[in-house]
Symmetry: C2
Subunit: 363 residues, 2 copies
């Protein structure tokens, strides 16, 4: 999983307000996400996983940047960008919503959060959606400001997350529903706290908008979490594969449409909304040629070229793979030829049997 | 310069067709640039520099992605994106051209290459300009395709670059003028070769458009360059600072306008062209409050917080720093308050004298 190469520090790859604490916690690896550092491992991926599913972790996910749309046309613009119907979104509610272009291909898969009637955050996966939003707004003459907000999300994830968050933010966190948020107080500052995060272990994301509070917030979580075995963590490959969370840039990118990766239920094909991608998506629905699936192998398959082969013939490509403790299987995701898929429920590679299944869980 | 952290390999951070050769050459560090691996060091930055200014190096700069605009409105679109007048651009000529938005701020500083009368490449610095171009095109209803081309530039840089390139591509490379290109043949394939590259040591960039030729091309350059001491290299901080080459995301980003970083000569304020940023830039010209300068210190200054202080008062921030063998000075770039700049030609930090100078050289 790790290369044996070092990541060169440059100003172009941004640190976060939490980086000093992440470093002090002994981070071992990073990736780069939205031009910003994303921690990737603290102990080993396997031990990070075991801890995540048992206790509570604090994750620096500042790289999940917020693109803010504000102004009279902000709601029009955000709806143009996604084929998911946003009309009934409540204040401080988040919706997982693929962004698609006029061809129906996926440009990002963010959480879209409604802050006020004419103010939204697009909480991003890894692509410069600010440029897409700015281009559309300028091109169509929309009255909307578009900018990257000075906000650095910190995720608190794991089965003990609610206990820890209650100690730091008060019992009111318990009333927050999944993908909803409240403005909660920390050191005399109100900040958005949502029940969300890129794991299925339960937890919250704190949308910190004052960098000077980053280290105090981190420290408060660790101070109150000692008996909960709190530690620093990060999005974990094993957990996200078991939980069915997709990675933009990994499992899908702007060569795919939402149907190919099973995001059908976030596309409101019949909605009477003005969304750039809906005309194309209505044509594409049910007609896609590829499908993202899970393939679970009885034991680890070496697929160094990341190709999926059926009797030597390439029928798809793997997008990610890890040994799954939950399933006791080598769990891979693969983008496969749909015609082949219709005729197969199993595959054998290198003498190892693999079951073809839908992507586990759902968002 | 290097962190002691590892870069985690994921599919989201793309390898290039040259990565196997880069790895075999012993690359020691990477950065991530346009979601792709960018090698950053092979020996030490100092020894990489000494070799680059003396011999010839082969650089995998595949991450300098090409955004292709093609169609009846491609020329209109590319001109909308830059305040540099592109009307007299010749076929296969490249122009360094800042891309600016309607506020005059910089979104990227690519080389724009004219391939055909209605076909252009934007050879990118590190931001997803495809999304900006697509947004503008869609918003304004322009008849242009916008996509990332399957092209992986390989740079051949250093004083012996022309000798090496002549051996591989023939003597006709010698007739190529700076920032101009020719279609040249390698293994029965024509590819664009330009006299360009992110160093001032002379050299070329080969715009490879067939991944299967990547390793043969790399090998041919090494085979023909043995007596020229050819080796693998990469953009080098020391050399680029001595040569006055700016880094988008480092020295400037979308909080700056071109005047602040001295790109005035690439802005055709008087041109009768339809460019999104020109109205704003005409207002901004001469009125900017900050200026990027070089500050040369007699010896190395420790500025771990990257702030420039005059008698304790912050007057700017450093954007990059390295010891310069050519100037025998600690060469830094700094964005400084212009009012302060008008009254100072020197600065003293931590007891070390610094001379304030324009950015060396010019593009």
């Amino acid at each position: 999983m790790l290369t044996n190469k070092l990541l060169t520090a440059t100003r172009r790859v941004r640190e976060t307000p939490f980086t000093p604490r992440v470093e002090a916690a002994g981070v071992k690896g990073y990736s780069v996400y939205n031009h910003m550092l994303l921690p990737t491992v603290f102990d080993t991926p396997e031990r990070d996983y075991e801890h995540l599913v048992s206790h509570v972790q604090v994750w620096d996910v500042s790289c999940q940047r917020q693109i803010e749309l504000i102004g009279p046309d902000a709601t029009k613009l955000v709806q143009l960008m996604t084929p998911r119907d946003l009309r009934k979104t409540k204040l401080l509610q988040g919706k997982y919503a693929p962004l698609c272009d006029e061809n129906g291909t996926i440009l990002n898969d963010p959480i879209i959060i409604k802050l006020e009637s004419d103010r939204w955050w697009i909480s991003l996966a890894d692509s410069d959606i600010k440029l897409w939003a700015k281009g559309l707004a300028f091109g169509q003459g929309l009255n909307t400001q578009v900018f990257e907000a000075d906000v650095w999300p910190l995720a608190v994830q794991g089965p003990k997350a609610e206990t820890l968050m209650s100690r730091v933010f008060g019992a009111q966190v318990q009333a927050i529903r999944f993908f909803h948020g409240k403005m909660l107080r920390f050191m005399d500052n109100d900040m958005l706290v949502m029940r969300s995060g890129w794991s299925k272990q339960g937890g919250f994301e704190i949308y910190l908008d004052d960098a000077s509070l980053a280290e105090p917030l981190w420290d408060a979580l660790f101070e109150h979490g000692k008996d909960l075995t709190v530690r620093a963590g990060c999005p974990n490959l094993i957990e996200r594969l078991e939980s069915g969370l997709l990675s933009y840039g990994g499992d899908m990118d702007d060569r795919h449409n939402p149907f190919e990766v099973g995001l059908d239920r976030y596309i409101n094909l019949e909605a009477d909304i003005d969304s750039i991608s809906l005309p194309a998506l209505r044509q594409l629905a049910g007609r896609h040629q590829r499908q993202l699936v899970a393939v679970m192998f009885d034991k680890t398959v070496e697929a160094s070229d990341f190709l999926l082969r059926d009797k030597g013939e390439v029928v798809g490509n793997l997008t990610a793979a890890a040994w799954s403790p939950r399933f006791s299987q080598h769990l891979t995701y693969a983008m496969v030829n749909r015609e082949w898929l219709d005729q197969h429920t199993e595959i054998e590679m290198d003498g190892v049997r693999g079951k073809i299944l839908p992507i586990p869980g759902s968002y």
